[in-house]
Symmetry: C2
Subunit: 270 residues, 2 copies
């Protein structure tokens, strides 16, 4: 099944939560630290507990790369453990000149077999194109990110009056020939979300920043419902996977995602 | 020795060439393909042949990541093989929210022990800051890149009349509190280089795009000499490592870098 359809099926079932596997050895429950592969064990238990309720998983490469090649193996094994009908996003923020991006795409799509990747648009079209060449994948391009630094460049006003992130969204729409483009938009930027959602067109949206970063799931969801745009993912990492740091972490994660789904479905039915 | 000093010492010796190890199994000489670890063998031979003449090495992560964890091992072993007095750049184009960038920095500086990294500025200050916290390292931040896509966003004109890449350079100067900032500027953008070199201040410059991408080493070098700015690296990847694709590849690479150094030193003495 292609990546866009995986997302669509889950969204149609009323699932919008993307579970972010930002798994850090320092933060996982003590009892797991004595197992052979604590991070993989932790991820497996989180996935088992949440996969029935998740719309997608997002694996943050940084947390695995810091362990070197062993981390890359854990990343691979984690990805393989996720049920095949669920979209899995390589949160890698890649992007380079065309010839190099081609190898990054090869890594994420052919070696790791992810459905989707996050890409940084700074270097322009030829840096993004090698990812877009994979028509069954879903390419999330950074528009306006959830962090404070988004003000430094993404929110700069251009000569024609629009903002850099708006120009990115425009470009992404023009690149969307194979219907495999999507955008990243910070859930912390509610006002900009409100002012720009009309410009998203058919681009699915990944919204990080809920929870630890301060975004509100209710506000974001209401906004999308009001705009009848229901192709989206609200990412939650720490708020789910570290909901509880005892050996009850997996049931606690399950309880949390069920409660988030209920909250969302209540908003949907209002 | 800290990274800035490594670069300075090589520059003072009249060395400005950064050898880009964009090593691709499909492009290395046939006879090496039957060795146990062809890419590592190739890299070792290139390093042995060129280290006396190189100002730095740049390892392009994409070419290793596509091999998964094995690629990460080759990357690590390649890096370890480079003499310790030579700057080694992780060409990884990383950048994410602060909490994630911190892990990328941990990977590149603590696990892989690189001297330096390339960073994408799109997400702003807090995405770059965790790299800058390593005061003995050298952080090359993308300003104007060498590829055609540089026109899409980097060269957008802002409301105040300046271009996005100029704003990036301004910001990088303001972030340079620990004297560990540097910029990436495409050797293919000679006019912009000429018009902006005054704004580089004390930031060392990494110039990709010579050779396969069309930049001219003579033109670039003349411009820097004219501006009395001699803290720079001209990257050459394919033009050195694939100069010859027979079993003579290492002597050919050596001959090429010596010839490039001579060309540069002739310009310096004029």
């Amino acid at each position: 099944m292609n990546a866009v359809n995986k997302l669509k099926l889950k969204n149609d079932e009323g699932k919008f939560i993307c579970v972010g596997l930002d798994t850090d050895l320092e933060k996982i429950p003590l009892h797991l630290k004595y197992s052979e592969n604590p991070i993989l064990e932790f991820n497996k238990k989180i996935i088992e507990a949440t996969s029935e309720y998740a719309a997608a998983y997002k694996i943050n490469f940084a947390f695995y790369e810091k362990l070197g090649s062993k981390g890359f193996d854990i990343l691979f094994q984690t990805k393989e453990f996720i049920p095949k009908d669920i979209l899995v996003i390589a949160d890698a923020k890649r992007g380079d000149i065309g010839n190099t991006s081609r190898h990054y795409a090869d890594s994420v799509f052919n070696y790791f077999r992810f459905d989707s990747i996050t890409v940084n648009p700074y270097m322009g079209e030829d840096s993004v194109k090698p990812f877009l060449d994979y028509e069954n994948k879903l390419i999330f391009i950074l528009a306006l990110t959830s962090n404070p630094g988004a003000d430094d460049f993404e929110k700069l006003q251009l000569k024609n009056g629009s903002y850099l992130f708006q120009r990115v969204i425009e470009k992404v729409n023009s690149w969307n020939i194979k219907s495999n483009c999507a955008i990243v938009f910070g859930a912390t930027k509610l006002q900009e979300l409100q002012e720009n959602i009309y410009a998203f067109g058919n681009l699915p949206v990944l919204l990080p920043g809920v929870g630890a970063q301060g975004g509100s799931i209710e506000e974001v969801m209401k906004l999308f419902i009001r705009n009848k745009k229901l192709d989206l993912l609200i990412n939650i990492s720490r708020g789910i996977i570290y909901k509880d740091n005892t050996d009850n972490f997996a049931p606690a994660a399950k309880k949390e995602i069920i409660s988030l789904n209920e909250k969302i479905n209540k908003l949907l039915s209002e």
